[in-house]
């Protein structure tokens, strides 16, 4: 496996499980199996590494949301939490931990959330047959809520959100 890939994967895991600020560079070098010299050659700085983790996660996450129906959207989330666990949204967490003061991170978060918002709108439009910004906003809320409620209520919460979205969609159809 490529050095960059290994580092990014190890960093994502540590940031996600223990927090961004609480994860020191020594722990990263150990987990990535490389010297700090190589790490800095590769990542530049901790903030740059955080931003790269977010960019890569955005790709992995958004790839799963290439679906046509709202039901499939929540099914994708069910898959995600089964594989990745539920520790909340890493993007919002990174922004909160840095207070929005790190530009590279704030930009990565903004880009992801904008793409996510657009995707939800597209899926709702495809499923419904026409655009419905209000319904899209509600589906987005359910998705975000499932992500965060699952932290303490468990993965079952995603099913509850899926059912709720189905009701809203059905009502919008008639």
């Amino acid at each position: 496996m490529d050095l960059t890939t290994k580092l990014t994967a190890a960093a994502e895991r540590l940031f996600d499980r223990h927090g961004f600020m609480a994860t020191g560079m020594d722990r990263l070098t150990e987990a990535a199996g490389m010297s700090s010299r190589t790490l800095y050659k590769n990542a530049g700085s901790k903030a740059a590494l955080m931003a790269r983790v977010l960019t890569q996660r955005d790709r992995r996450f958004m790839a799963r949301l290439e679906v046509q129906t709202v039901d499939a959207l929540f099914a994708a989330l069910e898959d995600w939490v089964r594989v990745e666990g539920c520790r909340g949204c890493l993007f919002l967490r990174s922004r909160a931990e840095t207070g929005g003061d790190t530009p590279e991170i704030a930009e990565a978060v903004a880009a992801h959330k904008e793409a996510f918002h657009r995707r939800v709108g597209e899926v709702v439009a495809t499923d419904l047959g026409c655009e419905d910004p209000v319904l899209a906003e509600q589906v987005l809320v359910l998705f975000e809520g499932a992500t965060h409620a699952a932290v303490y209520r468990g993965a079952q919460t995603v099913s509850a959100a899926k059912a709720a979205a189905a009701i809203l969609l059905e009502r919008a159809r008639s």
Copy 2:
């Protein structure tokens, strides 16, 4: 104003705006207007101060949720974000930043989320006339989703969540 109260209030503000880990004790002493000696006499440790901030926030937040209807529940959230802004759930954030490794914090978070879950169930039962755990879970998801989506979508999101909850409630009634 009491020293303890002033410290807790200043700490809550800094933790919320800049993150728990990113907020150092020197910034806390300065914001609270007291020496580090007095701060430690009063709070014991940073972890204890974090736990106390969460306990006090739980009281302030839950006091606002003493309502009878689901609509009032989301109206209370609208008021909250208008006054306190929208930076996500401070409880989940504290847990994520510490990786769940600090017992006093993990317990404060668990206690709050359990109380919150119970309260939502009560409000739904009161509004509906009978218990409905499934609907309660969906309302909880909408509430949590509004809290977190509002971080990047703005306060309008809470209204969208409120409308969605009304639809689900209406459907459950018939």
